[in-house]
């Protein structure tokens, strides 16, 4: 049994706004029977056609898919179409008090249905999504679920995903035969590379405080997620000038290759923070 929040359970057991709007201004449909989840979203606008006054849904899917759909319909009411388009899948999950990571694709489905509905209403081409299972823009990466590189890169970037497993939880890509996982890893590296290029240049001279902050940020955002992917972890013990002391945890603790991992950490910190950094593994 999944560890659902009380709010997820409440929205699953007593979903709000189930059904259809016969004179809906916009309808967005994503998903399929093959995929295992699908959502049909109906939206009704006010007389001025500015704000959403009603939203209803029909969902085929698991408990979190139904709860996410219910949450979405509650969230969009009273918003303009532009405001509604700003709702991210993370906000849908947050509204429910969080979703298990393996279920994040349910919140992505809600966001997709909303985009499709609004695009159709505006008479512009509806964006193609992973849940549609149709030929979409870009190159198909996951053949099992019909997901393209453009779609996957968008989800990787907007949700700051670091591992192929996370991409699977958010999109389903790689969740069946697993043959596309190497390609997903390439896409993650590509997105991280693009974001790095876009990031502001590191200042040439760092104060001690800035250096310490940057070391902590790099460990948290760049290094630890990669160790988690292999069941490991590390803890920052101390920073003394350019000397960074870390202790390895979980699978990394006592691992025969911890020396190589320490070198990796050092290389990453030199690249992201300062070329004079040395990393020392300590017991702590």
């Amino acid at each position: 049994m999944w560890d659902y929040t009380d709010k997820v359970k409440e929205h699953f057991l007593n979903p709000r706004n189930v059904g259809e709007i016969t004179d809906a201004d916009a309808v967005g449909e994503v998903g399929s029977l093959a995929c295992g989840d699908a959502l049909k979203l109906f939206i009704k606008l006010d007389e001025k056609k500015e704000r959403i006054v009603d939203a209803r849904f029909q969902t085929f899917g698991c408990g979190s898919a139904i709860a996410s759909s219910s949450a979405l319909t509650e969230m969009v009411k009273g918003k303009t179409l532009d405001e509604a388009l700003q709702i991210s899948n993370q906000e849908i999950a947050d509204f429910l008090g969080g979703l298990p990571e393996e279920k994040m694709h349910c919140s992505v489905m809600g966001q997709e249905a909303l985009e499709v509905a609004i695009a159709k209403y505006r008479g512009v081409e509806a964006p193609k999504h992973g849940h549609d299972h149709v030929e979409t823009e870009g190159e198909i990466v996951c053949k099992c679920f019909g997901l393209t590189d453009i779609f996957l890169k968008k989800v990787i970037s907007s949700n700051k995903l670091h591992t192929a497993e996370q991409v699977t939880h958010f999109t389903k890509a790689g969740g069946a035969c697993g043959g596309c996982i190497p390609k997903i890893k390439e896409l993650i590296a590509e997105v991280m590379g693009e974001e790095k290029k876009a990031a502001p240049e590191r200042p040439t001279k760092l104060t001690n405080l800035k250096k310490m902050q940057l070391i902590q940020e790099t460990l948290e955002n760049e290094i630890r997620p990669q160790l988690w992917a292999d069941g490991g972890d590390l803890e920052l013990i101390d920073i003394d000038g350019a000397n960074v002391q870390v202790a390895f945890r979980k699978a990394c603790a006592g691992c025969a290759s911890s020396g190589n991992t320490a070198k990796f950490v050092e290389q990453k910190l030199r690249e992201m923070v300062s070329p004079d950094i040395t990393v020392q593994e300590v017991q702590g």
Partner: protein, 389 residues
């Protein structure tokens, strides 16, 4: 809320009689059966009695019984042993619907250069022995096929398969975790070399299993160390659980015909009523020989997790063959291998009964499930389309 437990293929309640049998072996008779003194000796006698009781249920000899920690260990030990005994042979045969204890191991072995053939099943989940015959060659070291499937209850023609395999000179192993205690087995008249079973599937505790090793079958232990289990499985015996396993097997042996008949009647009634009350259902494996306690029913246009959560609200525990309950993203490998259409596979629910299941519990499921399916179909875009036709 009183729970209605219909997930007995996952695990079973420990029978009170089994628990009473094992109880003294924690705080009173806690000797190590390997010790030379009288205190350990009396425990050893009880372990030997358990071995005889397990052997009696299987129609085997006591010295063919090796106690292990679980069905998975037994499966792993059987296959690894065969590979060590015949290192020159590199071909393994199994089926696409095996339990992960066998399937994952076999797939991992391909990375070590082994050739693995996974036999297909038909729409009923049944094996085609001609495919097995065609797959067998001189390089085949072991064939591992489950006796009965944990999801559908489908019983494979294991005795015919074993004879075919033996004629070709390979070893034959069967994962009989779901079959033992539910249908009669007789190793004395069988060609099976190795057979796995698990205590917690037949009202013994979790953490004890058995590997049957036919007398004369070459064997290399998975766990090495002490001389326990005549050198075939090192490690201090899980004594109380082994004694419990013996009692559970004795009870199964004594009561199987009566229990199997009663359970089958309840299962059949559940199947009949649900099929009549819920349109667009199909029984997975319904067209072939099945275990008496298992019902895998597929309901179109709904997803399994939603059904399970709503059943759970009514105190009913079942299992799903859908993706979302398991953490994987595709419907179960068993249903996919059977070619169950996606419209059904996502909405498959497994009810598995036991000796403790009552008619009143079956009545409750018959009352509660149809409105749940109706509610979810009303909520589903595909279900609404279907209902509006």
């Amino acid at each position: 809320m009183k729970e209605i437990y219909l997930d007995n293929n996952a695990t079973t309640r420990v029978d009170e009689r089994v628990f009473e049998e094992m109880r003294p072996y924690f705080c009173e008779l806690y000797g190590n059966p390997s010790s030379m003194h009288f205190f350990g000796g009396q425990v050893q006698k009880k372990v030997d009695e358990a071995r005889s009781r397990v052997a009696a249920l299987l129609g085997a000899l006591p010295d063919e019984i090796v106690f292990t920690a679980c069905g998975t260990e037994s499966d792993n030990a059987a296959i690894r042993s065969a590979l060590e005994v015949f290192p020159e042979k590199r071909h393994i045969i199994t089926s696409r619907v095996e339990h992960p204890a066998v399937l994952t191991q076999c797939r991992n072995l391909t990375k070590r250069g082994y050739r693995v053939t996974e036999l297909n099943v038909d729409g009923n989940g049944q094996l085609d022995l001609k495919e097995l015959e065609a797959a067998l060659d001189d390089d085949t070291v072991i064939v591992s096929l489950m006796y009965a499937n944990n999801e559908t209850g489908v019983i494979f023609p294991i005795e015919e398969a074993a004879k075919m395999v033996k004629a070709k000179g390979a070893l034959f192993h069967t994962d009989a975790v779901q079959a033992v205690g539910k249908i009669p087995l007789n190793m004395a008249e069988s060609a099976i070399d190795l057979l796995s079973l698990s205590g917690h599937k037949l009202h013994a505790p979790k953490g004890v299993g058995v590997l049957y090793v036919r007398r004369g079958t070459p064997f290399r232990p998975l766990l090495v160390g002490g001389h326990q289990e005549r050198g075939r499985r090192a490690g201090t015996e899980n004594t109380a659980s082994i004694i419990a396993m013996g009692k559970a097997c004795e009870l199964a042996h004594l009561h199987m015909p009566e229990e199997a008949g009663r359970v089958r009647e309840m299962r059949d009634r559940l199947e009949r009523e649900l099929t009549a009350l819920i349109p667009n259902t199909r029984i997975n494996g319904g067209g072939t020989n099945r275990l008496p306690n298992t019902l895998s029913i597929a309901m179109e246009f709904v997803e399994g997790e939603g059904i399970l959560l709503l059943l759970s609200e009514k105190g009913i525990c079942a299992s799903s063959g859908s993706a979302c309950t398991s953490g994987s993203l595709e419907p179960s490998h068993v249903l996919r291998a059977m070619g169950v259409p996606f419209t059904c596979a996502h909405g498959s629910i497994r009810f598995s009964l036991s000796r403790f299941t009552t008619d009143a519990e079956i009545d409750a499921v018959i009352k509660e499930l149809p409105p749940i399916i109706s509610r979810l179909r009303q909520m589903s875009p595909f279900g609404r389309e279907f209902l509006n036709k």
